[in-house]
Symmetry: C2
DNA sequence: TTGATAAACTAATTATGTTAGTTTATAATA
DNA sequence: TATTATAAACTAACATAATTAGTTTATCAA
């Protein structure tokens, strides 16, 4: 007993993320995470301050991976192409990692500044892609907010089970949404 | 002790909703609700099956009120006017009842069919408003899904604390988002 | 008046998060 | 090498929440 393991915050969060995808986000408790790591739950307090930090940690981790996925989708494309690719990657990520995506939704009750930072990182990719459009800074911000909102909203509602039963093709609904927004950009360009 | 009160499920849910707005959704526990009603928590089980039913109940209640707000905004308007008015009402509701709106977000972990029903009711108003556009049924579904997603996504991200610090006017971002989508409809119409 | 029922109660159980205080392994130092 | 400081585990205990079982009481109908 009392044997030293090589635990640290990152290891704990990785285990928590794995647990989330295995058994559902709602079953990620300190007890379960500790068990998965072969440790008693109070030991986790040596590495993080409590369950809230676990929550924000998982959210950051999930956002970080989403960011990677999006960056991967954007590389080598530009303007509308890039935006549409990002949109598809965004939804793919959410479908492939539903529990982690939920972790992003269930923000630790509003406003951890680090989570917002990461959120901004996701958004920064969008800013880069938007550059060729040469909108003003304000206009770019407006569009990026809206675009991200649309992706997030669609994916969230879909994950929550809306859009079922209703016959029409969900992929197509999503594609159209992204396309409408991207098209509205070309509009402004030609002004 | 043991005095009969006139409790029923609706009274409990109303109290829970009030409590949510007073002290935050995360502090809505059976204990707190019971206390507010001058009753012990196990007594609540005479009227509902547990904390999950409390959760779904609050979500339904919140959706019901959102529905009213939206219906109120749509009446007497048509097409783009109606869509924009609905958009503004949607966000106003979320801002005025932030805890209740969170209750809608935090779905009782996916897919209670009644909650989806109510969700559909919200959406049905959108269908009515869309009629004059004379799109096909499929096209209407696609648009409504996207429009609702955009509203929901924007409002959620805003409530979660994104869009802060960043200088641009949030009202304007929202207005633009709604306007882009509505404009894309006029596009199709003129085809 | 009596008896059935609904709705409250008390008491106890389980689960989770958390704190306090203790022990032990490891790494640095005398 | 022996010692000691520290980090990281532990045990034990407590608080709060949800829940269940079983009990009591108010009210209404026969």
């Amino acid at each position: 007993m009392g044997t030293r393991r090589n635990l640290d915050a990152q290891t704990i969060l990785d285990a928590a993320a794995e647990l989330a995808e295995e058994k559902g986000l709602e079953n990620v408790s300190l007890l379960q995470v500790a068990e998965k790591l072969g440790v008693k739950s109070p030991s986790l307090y040596n590495h993080l301050s409590g369950v809230q930090e676990l929550s924000t940690g998982i959210a950051k981790l999930a956002l970080g991976r989403l960011e990677e996925a999006i960056r991967g989708a954007a590389v080598g494309r530009s303007e509308g192409d890039a935006l549409l690719a990002i949109a598809l990657a965004y939804r793919s990520y959410a479908k492939e990692n539903p529990e982690l995506y939920k972790a992003i939704l269930r923000f630790p009750d509003c406003g951890d500044s680090d989570v917002q930072e990461k959120g901004h990182t996701v958004v920064r990719i969008l800013y880069q892609v938007m550059e060729p459009y040469n909108l003003g800074e304000e206009e770019t911000i407006h569009f990026v907010r809206g675009f991200r909102s649309a992706l997030h909203g669609f994916v969230s509602l879909e994950a929550a089970g809306f859009f079922r039963g209703n016959g029409a093709d969900v992929d197509e609904s999503y594609r159209q949404l992204a396309f409408r927004l991207v098209s509205s950009l070309n509009m402004e360009k030609s002004d």
